[in-house]
């Protein structure tokens, strides 16, 4: 606990990412570096087109870097794997041919983590953690959007991965459900202290969820700042709330008394 120079769990160094569209090669991020430590709630925040989702997919191992490196606990990331579980924005990330319990079980069994009784117990444990025990035998199409995302989170957490990657998991939810889900995620983190890498385009969500926030500017994505957050949008020494400071940094606006500190 008192290591003066703790090693980062996830080290991203000078990362440049490109992807191909039909008629061009797009640079999504350019020489982005950051470190995530164990039990961080690390948020990547930026407007559309800043390559934040691409960045997350690269950490997931779906995209090869053009330049730079990504290492998880010292090992180079080269392909998707169950040590980095992704929770997507889309509701269709659950397999419709499996019930809630089977979806969670499938992840544990397919990856070879656990099998038989142990897998079933672990699955039920995490389904209970997201308050879905009563729906364990339902198929995904019978659930609401928020419930589907809870299943996806349970599936990810049941894997007990080294890092949980979340790609705007609450963006497709209505505002009331989103607020509730953010609260539940923080509660889950309190209980498990799982390392989170969370991508969002919402400043209030970033301030609420993160303990560290990386700001990316668009076209291509470059790191603009990395800030700490206590989750309560406090007023800093410059007289601005954290969200107002983020707003002015991201959009190069003159900081005003404009306050949009609610989510």
């Amino acid at each position: 606990m008192t290591d003066p120079n703790p090693k980062p769990l996830l080290a991203v160094d000078g990362l440049t990412l490109q992807y191909r569209t039909r008629d061009s090669i797009v640079t999504a991020t350019y020489r982005v570096s950051f470190d995530v430590f164990t039990s961080d709630r690390y948020v990547i925040l930026g407007p559309s087109g800043c390559g934040k989702s691409t960045l997350l997919k690269a950490v997931g191992g779906y995209i090869r870097p053009v330049e730079g490196s990504i290492t998880l606990a010292g090992a180079q990331i080269s392909k998707p794997g169950p040590d980095r579980v992704l929770v997507f924005q889309e509701f269709d990330q659950l397999l419709p041919w499996k019930t809630v319990r089977e979806n969670v079980l499938f992840a544990l069994v397919a990856s070879g983590r656990l099998k038989g009784r142990e897998a079933a117990e672990r699955a039920d444990h995490y389904i209970a953690k997201v308050n879905l025990t009563g729906f364990a035998d339902s198929y995904p199409h019978m659930l609401s959007g928020g419930m589907k995302q809870r299943v996806a989170i349970a599936r990810g957490m049941a894997m007990e991965p080294q890092i949980l990657l979340m790609d705007e998991p609450f963006a497709a939810l209505d505002a009331l459900t989103r607020g509730k889900m953010q609260e539940e995620l923080l509660q889950l983190w309190d209980e498990t202290k799982v390392t989170l890498l969370f991508v969002t385009h919402s400043i209030p969500e970033a301030v609420r969820i993160g303990n560290r926030i990386l700001l990316l500017t668009p076209h291509p994505g470059r790191a603009k700042a990395e800030l700490g957050s206590t989750g309560t949008d406090l007023v800093g020494p410059d007289g601005l709330t954290l969200s107002a400071r983020i707003d002015s940094l991201l959009f190069d606006r003159h900081p005003t008394a404009r306050s949009n500190a609610h989510g």
Partner: protein, 290 residues
């Protein structure tokens, strides 16, 4: 000088008591409404009406050599079943059909596997499908008779042709339309390539695969009857097509109708029981088809 009236300030209101006496919340449907919701019942009524129209028209025509009545056909059907001639012909046809269908599915599986693993395979399947899918299987029968002789071999050959392209086309299209998110989920949990195909691609493409199976089945069935019409004589037993052809030569038209009725009934049974049950157990239950 009418200024727009400002909305008046209003106090917060909290209703301490909620209204009562709204009756039942969920009222059960009436007997007739539930009967009308039953698909089997609705279709049975439809079939009965069609049979009635048939009977009325045939009675009005009064020429059983051209168009026997429903009751005459029913009697011929019953007699055919009792003597065993119709049953035997049906059994013969179905057995041949199953063999051809199974072989066609095996080829389709191999072709699709090649197509999803390599780009040249996909190009090849695309090209071959657009070449051969529009080609009626029965047009290949003369060639097949030279290659495989007058027997089961030729019929199975044309059946495979009938099944292969429609099934391969639909399965391949289904695989390509499997949601990218499901694919990423499969990769995320480290599935091996075989497990990836069986646990992600096949269930994900099941709606298209089932459509392909159904179309392939219908193509195979109609090809088989047509092929039997041409040369059922050479096959040992002779199937339904031959039964129809032979009875036409004997001018026993009610028996021709009985043969046709058997073809139709068999089609209805497979569609309404086999495929319907398959769909209900899988894609409907999973909410992939409404």
């Amino acid at each position: 000088m009418a200024e727009p009236a400002a909305a008046p300030p209003r106090p917060d209101r909290i209703y301490e008591t909620l209204p009562e006496g709204f009756g039942v919340v969920a009222k059960p449907l009436s007997f007739w409404a539930r009967i009308a919701d039953n698909g089997v019942f609705r279709k049975s009524v439809l079939l009965a009406v069609l049979a009635l129209i048939w009977q009325a028209y045939a009675l009005w025509l009064g020429n059983s050599l051209l168009f026997p009545t429903f009751t005459e056909t029913g009697y011929a059907f019953y007699e055919g079943m009792r003597s065993g001639a119709l049953t035997e012909a049906t059994f013969h046809s179905v057995w041949l059909l199953l063999k051809g269908y199974a072989l066609g599915l095996a080829f389709a599986a191999a072709a699709t596997a090649f197509a999803i693993t390599t780009r040249v395979g996909a190009d090849l399947l695309d090209t071959l499908t657009s070449m051969f899918n529009p080609l009626p299987s029965i047009a290949l029968l003369p060639l097949a008779m030279i290659w495989f002789g007058l027997g089961e071999g030729s019929i199975i050959f044309v059946l495979v042709h009938a099944v292969l392209w429609s099934v391969a086309l639909n399965t391949h299209a289904g695989f390509r339309s499997v949601s990218p998110t499901w694919r990423m989920v499969g990769q995320n949990y480290g599935l091996s390539s075989l497990a990836y195909v069986t646990k992600i691609l096949i269930p994900g493409a099941l709606p298209s695969i089932l459509t392909g199976l159904k179309i392939g089945w219908a193509f195979a069935w109609r090809t088989l009857i047509a092929a039997e019409l041409v040369f059922g004589v050479s096959s040992s037993g002779g199937g339904l097509g031959w039964y129809i052809f032979q009875n036409k030569n004997l001018l026993d038209i009610p028996n021709v109708f009985a043969g046709l009725l058997m073809v139709i009934i068999f089609g209805l049974i497979v569609d309404n029981f086999v495929f319907r049950v398959l769909e209900q157990r899988t894609i409907r239950r999973w909410g992939m088809q409404s």
